[in-house]
Structures are given as C-alpha cells and as structure tokens.
C-alpha cells in the first residue's frame, strides 16, 4: 500500500510499504477514506520530537471503513464507518477508567523510552515517534488500530467525511482547551494561534458560554476565519499583545488564556525570536515558548492558562514568578479524545458546529509532501490539508 513516511528532517515521501495486519486480538484494520495533516506533524517533520525513525508512517487524524477485525473486537463489524481517536487507549487501566485516555497506562509498548524523556509515559499515538509506541500512522491506505473495541466511533448517518474527520483530534483538542478554562458567564478568553486547533478553541469557548473571545495570530487570512466565528482578531505583528489585552479587558487581563501554538512559536521581536531559535537549534531547549510566556503574563490574577499546543521537552525563561504570585492555574494535556467523541458528534449532528470550515485544501495522498509544504509555509492561505488515499 501507499503511505506517507518520514524520511529525514524536513522530508516526507509517499512510499510503498507492506499492508498492515492483525497483531493483537483487539485490533482492527481500517481502510482510510480521509486523513489530515496536523500541526503537530510539523514538529515531527521539523525534527523536534525525539525518536522518530526514517521510514515511519506519519499521521494520526484519520477515518475510514473497517475491513478486518480481531477475534476480541465485538463492537465493530467489517464495513463499519469509523473515526479513530489519535491516542491509543486500552479502556481497562486506571487512567482510562478515569477518562484520561491520552495517558493510558498500557498502550505504549515503549513506555520505558518515554519515561526517560517525560518521567512517566503517556499513551501510544499513531504515527508519532517511537517514544509514543512506534505505531504506523494514518496517512496511508490502511491502518492497524489497536484496542479497536475502545477508541473508534461508528458514524451511522450520512455526515460527510469532512464534517466528522476532525473528531479524531483537532476538534476535541480545541474543545478540551476551552473546557479546561472553566468558562463562566461574562468571561473573556484569549486564544493564541488561529490554526485549526485555535479556531476550534474559539468556537468551543463560545459554545461553552464565553462572553468574548480574542484570537491572536500573525496571518490575516487565519484571523479572518477566527473573526467569522465571532472572535476579536489581534495580529501580534501589528500590535503589542499584552497592551491590547489589558486595554480590552479593563486592565485586568483575559479570564483564561489558551495556548494553541506550542513548541515552534514565532515572535515579532527579532532578538527574542533569535535567542530561542538558536537555543532550540542547538538543543539547549527543545521548545520555543513565546505564546505560552505571553499567555501567562497576560492572564488575569487567579485565571487559567490552558495548554493544548504541543510541547516536546524543555524550555527556559518560563515566567514561574508570574504564575505563582498571581495564583494562576496551568493546565495542559494531549486531548482525551475518546471522552468527547459522542458529545461532539451530537453537536455536529445538531448543526452547532460544522468543523469542515477549517479545510483549505483537499489533496490526494500521493501529494502529501506538497500538503506538508503548503501547510508548513502557510502558502496559498493554507489552514488544513485533507488527504484522500
């Protein structure tokens, strides 16, 4: 089959690889009908996530049709149409029982490796480094799905792929980012990043009752999408973000801040940007956390900083003094997608949200490298690339 593989830093290639097969009794094989390129795939391609190997099949946002099930998968049948959550979760461990699916205690066969980097291991993830399991990803014609009796959600009605595909990652991720903010009536929420996750965080913050959402980015075409969702756009290349946020919130700061940017942020001040860029390139830090630093400084006293942008390891010049002295709450997490599948599918069905608005490009799978190129360099007003095998 064809699959999009990581072939070195900044380099992906669609190659012929063997078809997947059932390896565990709770596996299913899914024939992919739609798959997407995620912002976090860019961190892999740029070489900032350790333990990626040449030849790894990428992709963790995908859906399709079940073509084979293992003997212990009772809830799926061949022919079922499913969306597959990106975290692999067993459903039986303490974390899963508590609903913390993305930190499942059993789904990462390389947990020992992750422990060396992170202290404890999170769940396994499709196509996301060997530290997170070494599972082949979803930018392929077929995917093996472990614990298929727990993760995948069956889509029974005729909702098109474009409307339900993002249940696999970015819609619930944006939603969880907003949910972690403990939004109350009258709240102002600031969202860093108007990429797909940031846009879904904006939409979710309104769904959860925010009074006002401010969205910060540097690309006007993305900010326009946020504006269409009702957000106040703030281009950080043309305005002092901290100043503007203070002004817009009566001097107090936003009640909660969402970081939907992560480890490869940009900064308008050349000196600051260069400082972290150099440290990151020389691996003195793995992450450049401009958005996170700013989110902490901007947040009102006692507010929440919610992190759904992906971080990989270590960062510096972290404003801990601001966090501690001003009683902020810092929350983060890879999304516990399984928890949000049903409620969000319900919202899609009811028309409360149509996630397909983030899509800017449809490409065939064989053009995945071009998709990465467009997405990474924000060319052609690219916000989200959906690939069709």
């Amino acid at each position: 089959m064809k699959a999009n593989c990581w072939m070195g830093r900044g380099h992906v290639e669609v190659m012929d690889v063997p078809d997947p097969e059932i390896m565990n009794a709770r596996d299913a094989i899914v024939r992919v009908t739609s798959t997407a390129i995620c912002g976090s795939d860019l961190h892999l391609v740029d070489g900032y996530i350790p333990t990626v190997k040449k030849g790894d099949v990428l992709g963790h946002e995908f859906m399709g049709e079940v073509v084979e099930v293992g003997p212990d998968v009772a809830n799926l049948r061949v022919g079922d149409r499913v969306v597959v959550p990106f975290p692999i979760a067993c459903g039986g461990c303490y974390s899963c029982k508590e609903g913390w699916f993305s930190v499942c205690e059993n789904s990462n066969p390389n947990a020992g490796l992750a422990e060396k980097f992170l202290g404890h291991s999170p769940s396994g993830v499709f196509g996301y480094s060997h530290m997170l399991g070494g599972f082949a990803g979803g930018q392929a014609e077929y995917v093996r799905v472990p614990y298929a009796d727990v993760g995948p959600i069956t889509i029974e009605d005729d909702l098109p792929d474009d409307k339900v595909l993002f249940l696999s990652d970015i819609l619930p991720t944006g939603y969880m980012g907003a949910e972690m903010c403990d939004i109350k009536p009258g709240h102002t929420i600031a969202v860093w990043g108007a990429g797909p996750v940031g846009l879904f965080a904006v939409a979710s913050a309104y769904m959860l009752g925010a009074d006002r959402v401010i969205c910060i980015d540097r690309f006007d075409y993305r900010l326009r999408k946020a504006e269409r969702l009702g957000a106040f756009p703030l281009n950080y290349e043309h305005a002092d973000v901290l100043e503007m946020l203070r002004e817009m919130t009566g001097g107090r700061g936003p009640d909660a801040c969402i970081d939907a940017v992560g480890m490869e942020a940009h900064h308008p001040a050349m000196a600051t940007y260069t400082y972290d860029r150099v440290k990151q390139a020389t691996r003195l830090e793995t992450d450049r956390p401009f958005a996170l630093r700013e989110a902490i400084l901007a947040c009102r006293n006692g507010g929440v900083v919610s992190v759904v942008g992906v971080y990989g390891g270590l960062l510096d010049r972290f404003p801990m003094g601001s966090l501690m002295n001003r009683s902020l709450t810092l929350r983060g997490g890879q999304c516990h997608v399984q928890r949000y599948l049903q409620p969000l599918l319900q919202r899609i069905r009811e028309g409360q949200i149509d996630p397909s608005f983030v899509i800017s490009h449809h490409l065939p799978l064989r053009e995945a490298p071009r998709g990465f190129e467009l997405f990474k360099n924000k060319k052609d007003d690219c916000t989200k690339v959906v690939l069709t095998p």
Binding site: E21, N110, G124, H130
Partner: protein, 319 residues
C-alpha cells in the same frame, strides 16, 4: 550480615578519624610515633587521606564503594613504613646533604634511634591489621555487588486475588517475562525454568520458599543451579480500591559479573529495566488480555528493541 558490616565500618571510621586528625594537628609528633619517617607534609597528606576515608565510612550511604580505595591507601602507608625501616641507614648518610634544602632539612631533626625502629615496627603492625580488615570488607562488598539487587513495582487495576493467582501459576510467567522461554511446574513448590541468554540457553530449578496466599511469594534457585537468584513478590491493595500493587525485589548473579552488567546496560538491557518492562507486560496481560505489539517492535518489547527499533511501518508478513 549487613548490621555486622556496618559495625566494622563504623569502628574503622572512628579509628581513621582519630588517626587522621592527630596527623593533621600534630604531624611531627605523629611522624615520630610512626618511627620518624617522613616529613610533616607526608604526615599531613596521610592524615588527610585517613580523614577522607573516615568520612566515607561514617557517612554511611555506600561505605563499601570506597573499600578498595581504602585498601590502596593502606598499601601506601605500608610502603612508607617499610621504607622507614629499610631506609634508615641510607638516611643517616644523606642527612648532611638534606640539610642544605630547607624543607627536607627538617628530616634531619628527626633523629633516628633504636627506639625509632621499634615504634616503626609497632606502627606497621597496626596498619597491617587495619589493612586486613579493609581487605575483608572490600572483598565482601565485591562479592555482594556481583549479586545484583533489583526493585520494581507496578499498580494493576485488578483484584489482588486475581493478580496473585496469575503469578502463582508459574507456567503463566513466560507470558510477560520476555527472557524466560518456559517454566514447567515440577510440584507445588518446585519449577524448572528455561531462559534465553546471549549465545546460549540456561536452565535452572526454582523453589518457592515462602508463600502467603494473596500477599507474598518468595523463591530461590536451588543449590547447584547455574543461575543464582532469589527474590520475592509482594501483593498489596492500593487504598480506596485503586488496584493491586505488585512489588518485586530480587537478587541474582549477573552472568559476567560487573563487566556483564556494564555491557548489558550499554545495550539497553539493564536488568532493572527488564524487570520494569516485565511488570508492565504483566499489567497489560491482566488489564487488557495480552501484550500489546506495535509496528516498531512487533515481537513484543524487549528493552533492547527500544533503542533499536524497526521503522513504524506495517510488518507485512502476509505480502
């Protein structure tokens, strides 16, 4: 055993502290006591060495680690003392020459006497005694180290009885102990084990030496086995029904001793990591039904595999 060793170490530590302090405070008097060999600087250096080792002994964190360096220090002391005995005549002849260099000139003032020879002999006897004790401690420490101690624990979201029952059926053990090829129960307390080792396969017989249902199993390899191992596994409840804690403590003789361990560590097969991974697999088996495999390590995980995986591509046995 451990207690007794502690006492010996503490005694050695206090002796060292006294001697070292005395040599630093009154180097000349001590040198004279030793038999008048060595300048004040040498005396002070020996004192500092004594103090350093006394600190390692009394500090008590890992006193055995320094045992061999203590033996080496003792040896230096002995050499100095024996030179004091044999070099006496030569020194008498050299005294005039040494007189010209101010520092070494001090040696001249330490007038050797018949009495000096006797004190040197006595000092040598004392140091030889200390050396013997240090040597025994060092040897014992080395022997202990070749029996490697491992600890690991895991929390499993299943009832304690079920976890215990699974482990007590020894024939289940190879399902999660990746290096164990097979375990065959001989009778209720004895079992025959077969394991993979680099280049070879080893077999041994294990015996359950203690057992408390749902709480503890302790075992050792029977006398004369090629593998020397003993250990215990304890099963306890996490409070509030949060699962069963399985704690393994074991000792075993590493094939190839310290060098073997170092090599294994470099290859990513560190024994402690192996035990942790084994327990993780036990958890997978009990909580999810089987050991999870991924494309990067399709045969199930060995620590070795984590360092050198195949790409995360489907394995493709069928095509």
């Amino acid at each position: 055993m451990r207690k007794k060793a502690d006492k010996v170490e503490r005694a050695l530590g206090w002796a060292g502290l006294t001697l070292g302090a005395a040599q630093l405070v009154a180097p000349r008097a001590m040198a004279r006591l030793r038999g008048a060999n060595g300048a004040r600087a040498i005396s002070a250096a020996m004192g500092a060495r004594e103090l350093m080792h006394a600190a390692t002994l009394l500090n008590g964190a890992t006193p055995t680690r320094w045992a061999w360096s203590r033996v080496a220090g003792d040896a230096v002391d002995l050499v100095l003392l024996s030179r004091a005995m044999t070099g006496r005549t030569r020194k008498r002849r050299r005294t005039r020459m040494l007189d010209r260099t101010p520092m070494l000139g001090r040696l001249r003032r330490e007038i050797p006497t018949r009495n000096g020879d006797l004190t040197t002999a006595a000092a040598t006897a004392v140091v030889a005694g200390i050396t013997a004790v240090d040597l025994v401690t060092a040897l014992r420490a080395t022997r202990h180290r070749s029996l490697m101690s491992l600890h690991a624990s895991v929390t499993i979201n299943r009832p304690r009885e079920e976890v215990y029952r699974y482990w007590r059926d020894v024939e289940n053990l190879p399902n999660f102990m990746i290096h164990v090829e097979s375990v065959r129960a001989i009778d209720e307390y004895h079992s025959r084990w077969k394991a993979k080792a680099p280049f070879t396969e080893i077999e041994w017989t294990a015996e359950v030496i203690d057992e408390r249902p749902n709480e503890l199993i302790a075992w050792h390899s029977v006398r004369g086995s090629r593998v020397i191992t003993k250990g215990s596994v304890i099963f306890t409840d996490e409070p509030a029904g949060r699962g069963t804690v399985v704690t393994v403590a074991m000792k075993y003789a590493v094939p190839g001793g310290t060098l073997g361990t170092a090599i294994a560590r470099m290859l990513g097969e560190h024994p402690e990591q192996q035990v942790r991974d084994d327990l993780r697999r036990l958890k997978q088996v009990l909580e999810t039904g089987e050991v999870l495999r991924s494309d990067g390590s399709p045969e199930g995980v060995r620590a070795l595999r984590q360092a050198r995986q195949r790409p995360a591509q489907p394995v493709g046995g069928r095509s």
